[in-house]
Structures are given as structure tokens and as C-alpha cells.
């Protein structure tokens, strides 16, 4: 593999170092007395480098932990597919339904994303077979981190290692956003039918396999997986992150093993250049860069939760839309699945009927038009309330024409959206998790009793305290969201009043959800 590096081919994530340089330059243009600009977190401390602890470093640099967890999740995944295809159609007795939509979903939303960000993606079973085929190895890396794909042959292009033949217009998360919506309109069926769950997962693994054979690295995970999109966006809240210790070291290092790969590991599977990473959105914490960096300049940092969100400049519209769409989807699910209207649940599950088409259209309009439209109006109203932009604002506006205020404000929805999803998940997890015990012993519903738990009946846990768990979670998400709206206004040179409409949007969202659940 060539060792030269073409910086233009690497991902810029959503906040390149170059932007910081420009920011610093603009500070010099500001008049005396102008509001100070808050530098992005990359300029300040990065937190505690937990991977510098020898035992942790040994664990993370080795490949066995990640490989072992992936094999375990793949084994569970296969059981899920088999039970879906051949097990009982009764969802609450089927291993696949219980362990995917109850156990995995709850662990992902309540624990993995808030603490470890996108870590799930690095041990997800769906891309694993494709990865192993692409690498032609399971554990020990190929010399030079070499990958085997057919893109060069099939697309008749000369492709340097580390570059992407993936279509340029798809190098974003729009496909992931619309993929999530496509699943959302079938969700009542997928969530309750073991067969449909199995077929959906088979579809995922086939698409992932084909993409892996054609395109380098984890193109499916980065650009197509509907789960990866929102896991990445909400992963910005997590206190754990992979970053470089000193960007200056990277600047003088021309090899860029972290991107091209080396004998010690593969180039970043997500096309990231670690020195440019400012958020967790596109980083799965797989640790490849930790293994390949020969300057010991990459680390896993533990820092303040939500640090990634403090810089509201340079936010991307596709990620903003993901935050809005996920917020809207949480409301739809809360109304349809948790609400008291049985006809709505049956309509959502009656795929193909005229009523279902109306439901699907309403869901899409709500998620794609109404909620983003209301948010856009709030941002516009904020600009009006802010009055004429300050001198600082004009300077900053000149800085980058693509620096979307709409996307900047949408970053505030990340903690709020995650809080709303946690509240939604809490509403059904504690009361239904006891289905996991019999499903473990009798995964197919065939009358087995592998672990002696098949006879355990349904027992709702802590059913009286769910509301008392949801309230502080929602208030914490709201507080963070409102604080971020003000920060967005200040960072974009607006007056504080500009944050009022978006703050009102956030508080109304929380009050609406509280009303749905508690009134």
C-alpha cells in the first residue's frame, strides 16, 4: 500500500481544523469590546486520555476484545434470524423480537449511546461478514492494512488507497435519514413480527455484504445504515471520544498511517482523519487509529458529556435533519405505540391498506415537513428578534457562506432528542423486560427450557416509578438544549433574543411529551 497521503481525499467530518484557523483569524478582525468568540473544544483541553492507562491501552490496542464482542453479537444475530424465520410468530415469546427491539434497543438508548457514543457500530454484527471478506482476515490485519474490493475493476477507475469511489452525492447521511424513515413507516409491523424482523435484518446484512465487496472500508455503515445515522448524531453527547493528543504532531507526520493503514491495523473504516475529528458523529471508537499511529498521538479521551456540541459552527444540514427527524419520530412512536388509541396501532400495522397509506403519508409529512418547517420558522423568527446583526455577526457571516444557522440551532436538539428517546424507551422497557427470561430459555417458542427460566411469567418491574425517571431525563435534555440555543445565537453573532423561538420550540416539545405520557 502506498504510504503517501492525499489530504483532500480524507473526510473533513463536520469541523475541520482549517475552520479553527479561520476562526482565530476572524477574532483579529473584531473591534474592541465585541463579544468574545468561544473557540471549539479542540482548542481547549480534550479531557483525560484514558487509553494512556497501560491496562486500558493493552486492551484497546489488542484486537481480541472487539473481535470477541463482535462474534458474540453475530451469534446472537444469527439466533435472532433463525428464531424469526422458524420460531413462534407470537412476538413476546420470540427471542428475536424480545432481544432486538426490547433488550438491544434499551441497552443502545439507555447506556451505549449516552456513555460510549457510536461504539456499538464497531461491534455490530451486520457489517462483520463483509469486513472479514474485504480484509480476508478475521483478527490479525493484512500487511499494510490492505483491503480487497472490486471497485477498481468494476468502476474502471484508478483509485489510490484511502480514496473513495463512493458516489460524491451520497457522501453524507441523507441516505441514512431516509432509510430510517423507510423503516419507521413499517415499524409497527417490524417491531411485532418476528418474520419481518428477520427479513429486515437479512436485507441489512446482504446490502452490507454487497457494499463491502464493492467499496472500501465501512461504506455501508458510514453512508447507508439507518441506525448508524442517529447513533452517530446522538453519540455527540457521550463523554468518551477518540481524538489526537496534539494536532501539531499530526501536521508534521506525512505517513498518516491512521488513514492509510499499516502492518498494525487498517486505515480508519469511516474515512476519518483523526486529526480533523471534532465530533463523535462519524467515529465508531473502533481503535484502528490507536493501533496504527506510530507517534502514540491518538487516545481515547474521557471528557465532559456533550463537549462535541459546544461548537455550533460548520454544522451539516443532513445531521440537522437527522436530529429533527428523530425528534418527530419519537413523537409518532409515543402517540402510536404508547398511546391509548388501539385503532392507530392497528392502522400502523396494517401495511398495504388504504388507512396505512394515510398513516405512512402523515408520518412522512410530520417528520419531513411539519417539524423541520416549524423549526425553520423558529430560526427565522430568531433572526428577526435578533435585529440587525452585530459587527461580530457580519464578520462571522463572511467567514463561511455554508455555515448554516439552521443546522447550528439544530445541534441543540441532540441532547433533547436523546432525552426524549430515553423517556420513550423507559416507557416500555421496565414493564416488558421480564419477557427476556422465558425467551432466553425457549428462543423459538417450541417448549424448550434451556436455562430453567421458561416458566417465568410476565412481571412489570418498577412500573410505578417510570414517570419519576422520565421527568428528570426530559428536564436535563431541555436544560442542555436551551443552553445550546443561547450558545448558538452567541457563536453566530446574534443577540440572546434570537434563541427565544427555538427555546420555546424545545420547551413545547417537552411539555407535549409530558402531556402524552402523564396527562
Amino acid at each position: 500500500m502506498e504510504s503517501s497521503f492525499d489530504s483532500t481525499s480524507a473526510s473533513v467530518g463536520n469541523g475541520p481544523i482549517a475552520r479553527q484557523t479561520v476562526m482565530r483569524a476572524t477574532i483579529d478582525l473584531l473591534p474592541d469590546g465585541a463579544a468574545p468568540i468561544v473557540l471549539p473544544p479542540a482548542a481547549s483541553g480534550r479531557g483525560f486520555p484514558v487509553s494512556d492507562v497501560p491496562a486500558v491501552k493493552w486492551l484497546l490496542k489488542g484486537r481480541w476484545l472487539q473481535w470477541g464482542i463482535t462474534v458474540l453479537t453475530l451469534a446472537v444475530f444469527l439466533v435472532v434470524i433463525l428464531t424469526g424465520l422458524f420460531g413462534t410468530p407470537a412476538g413476546n415469546h420470540n427471542f428475536g423480537i424480545i432481544y432486538v427491539w426490547l433488550v438491544w434497543w434499551a441497552v443502545l438508548k439507555l447506556f451505549l449511546i449516552p456513555v460510549f457514543g457510536r461504539f456499538w457500530c464497531s461491534v455490530c454484527p451486520i457489517p462483520a461478514p463483509g469486513d472479514w471478506l474485504q480484509r480476508r482476515r478475521m483478527i490479525v490485519p493484512q500487511p499494510g492494512g490492505k483491503l480487497y474490493t472490486y471497485a477498481k475493476t468494476w468502476f474502471r477507475k484508478t483509485i489510490r488507497p484511502g480514496t473513495r469511489p463512493w458516489p460524491k452525492f451520497l457522501r453524507n447521511i441523507w441516505a441514512q435519514n431516509f432509510g430510517f424513515l423507510a423503516i419507521a413507516i413499517f415499524s409497527a409491523l417490524i417491531l411485532t413480527s418476528p418474520l419481518v424482523t428477520a427479513l429486515t435484518l437479512i436485507l441489512f446484512i446482504v446490502v452490507s455484504l454487497v457494499i463491502s465487496l464493492l467499496f472500501e472500508r465501512k461504506s455501508f455503515c458510514r453512508y447507508l445504515c439507518p441506525i448508524g445515522g442517529f447513533v452517530g448524531v446522538y453519540g455527540q453527547v457521550a463523554p468518551l471520544a477518540v481524538r489526537v493528543k496534539d494536532p501539531a504532531v499530526c501536521a508534521t507526520h506525512t505517513q498518516k498511517n491512521c488513514y492509510t493503514g499499516s502492518d498494525l491495523g487498517y486505515g480508519c473504516p469511516y474515512f476519518n482523519l483523526p486529526m480533523k475529528l471534532e465530533t463523535n458523529t462519524l467515529c465508531s471508537l473502533c481503535g484502528e487509529c490507536l493501533r496504527t499511529c506510530d507517534r502514540n498521538n491518538v487516545a481515547f479521551f474521557v471528557r465532559m458529556p456533550g463537549t462535541d456540541l459546544l461548537n455550533t459552527h460548520g454544522r451539516r444540514l443532513d445531521e440537522a435533519f437527522n436530529g429533527l427527524m428523530m425528534l418527530a419520530a419519537a413523537f409518532v412512536y409515543s402517540v402510536v405505540l404508547i398511546g391509548p388509541d388501539g385503532w392507530l396501532k392497528m392502522t400502523a400495522r396494517a401495511v398495504g391498506t388504504p388507512a396505512w397509506f394515510v398513516y405512512a403519508a402523515a408520518l412522512l409529512v410530520f417528520c419531513v415537513v411539519i417539524v423541520p418547517g416549524l423549526f425553520w420558522l423558529c430560526v427565522r423568527l430568531g433572526r428577526f428578534l435578533s435585529g440587525e446583526e452585530s459587527h461580530t455577526g457580519r464578520v462571522l457571516a463572511l467567514r463561511a457562506k455554508t455555515d448554516s444557522l439552521f443546522a447550528g440551532y439544530a445541534a441543540a436538539l441532540v441532547p433533547l432528542g436523546l432525552a426524549i428517546w430515553i423517556a420513550f424507551t423507559l416507557s416500555f422497557t421496565l414493564t416488558n423486560i421480564s419477557y427476556a427470561w422465558p425467551a432466553l430459555s425457549d428462543p423459538f417458542g417450541w417448549g424448550w427450557n434451556l436455562f430453567g427460566t421458561a416458566g417465568m411469567g410476565w412481571t412489570p418491574y418498577l412500573s410505578g416509578v417510570v414517570s419519576y425517571l422520565q421527568i428528570p431525563v426530559l428536564i436535563a435534555g431541555l436544560v442542555a438544549a436551551v443552553a445550546l440555543t443561547l450558545r448558538t445565537a452567541h457563536q453566530h453573532g446574534q443577540r440572546s433574543a434570537a434563541a427565544l423561538p427555538v427555546s420555546l420550540f424545545c420547551v413545547l416539545a417537552v411539555v407535549a411529551l409530558l402531556t402524552l405520557y402523564m396527562a
Partner: protein, 169 residues
């Protein structure tokens, strides 16, 4: 509660102002906000409650629907739920009250309890009855619904408090 505390603490930390503006105002406003949020969530309120009554509520269960889906009573009421099933065996479990009854077609179930806790509580089917069984849910609202009122008040106060704390002229 602890979530709110953590949220406010993070906000203070994340938005520490430059030296020139690092006055005590953010901490005073933040502390006051926290106090008001706690009061909204926890303070006893002098609310008059209607005299307790005995209420009988007839609920029809069918796949995957309770009719009526929402039941409203007052705190202190003695509630008797007559559950009738029109298709398969259904159950009814009331979250928070932990009461349960089962009904078969032609054999109704009865559940009696004293609604001594205010708030909204889901009631859900307790016997697997089909694919949408986990989502066969209704709502029991015991008034005065102070839990909801307190949560809404705390949310609004927290929003105003954060705005006041971080507002710049």
C-alpha cells in the same frame, strides 16, 4: 431530579464566561433556578380534593384496544373496573397500583382498588393476546394530576432559568 441537577451543572461548566464577564450572576441565577425547579417538583401544594367516591368503570378489551382508552378518577376514589373481553383472553394490569384482572369472552374480570396516588398510570394487557399485545395500553388519570403539573412547571422554570443565567445584553 438528579438529571436536572446534572444538566444545570453541565450548563454552568460548559458556559463558563471569559474572565471579564465571570461575575457571580450565572451562579446566583443557576442556583435560584435549581431551587425553583426543586420547589415545583417537591413542594406540598394546598389543593382541595373532591370527596372520595366509589366509581365503577366498564372497560371492553379487544385486540389490541381498551375501550375507553383513558379513564379519569379522583384521588381517594374506590375504583372498580369491570373488564369484558370480546374476542380472546385479555388481562388488565395497572402500573403503579400493581393490580391485575383477567377476562375471557363471556367471563368478565373485576379489579377493585383505592386510587390513593395521583398522576397518570398506564394500564396494559396482562395476557399475551397477539402481535400488538405489548402495546395494548390504556391510561388511568388520577386527579388532581400533580405529577404532570409539577413536571410542566419545572420544565418551564428550568427554561426560564437557563435563559436568565446565560442571557447576554
Amino acid at each position: 431530579m438528579s438529571g436536572g441537577l446534572i444538566g444545570l451543572a453541565l450548563t454552568q461548566k460548559a458556559f463558563r464566561l471569559p474572565t471579564r464577564q465571570a461575575t457571580s450572576r450565572p451562579w446566583v441565577a443557576g442556583g435560584l433556578t435549581l431551587a425553583l425547579v426543586l420547589i415545583a417538583l417537591l413542594a406540598p401544594l394546598p389543593i382541595r380534593i373532591a370527596a372520595p367516591q366509589a366509581r365503577t368503570i366498564n372497560i371492553t378489551a379487544s385486540q389490541w384496544n381498551f375501550q375507553p382508552g383513558t379513564v379519569r378518577v379522583n384521588r381517594g376514589d374506590t375504583v372498580t373496573i369491570n373488564l369484558e373481553s370480546v374476542d380472546v383472553v385479555h388481562g388488565l394490569f395497572v402500573d403503579g397500583y400493581e393490580g391485575k384482572t383477567i377476562a375471557e369472552p363471556g367471563r368478565p374480570g373485576v379489579l377493585t382498588f383505592v386510587a390513593d396516588r395521583d398522576g397518570a398510570f398506564h394500564f396494559r394487557c396482562a395476557i399475551p393476546c397477539g402481535n400488538l399485545h405489548p402495546f395494548m395500553i390504556g391510561k388511568l388519570v388520577v386527579g388532581p394530576n400533580l405529577t404532570w403539573l409539577r413536571a410542566v412547571a419545572a420544565s418551564v422554570l428550568a427554561t426560564i432559568g437557563v435563559l436568565a443565567t446565560l442571557w447576554r445584553r
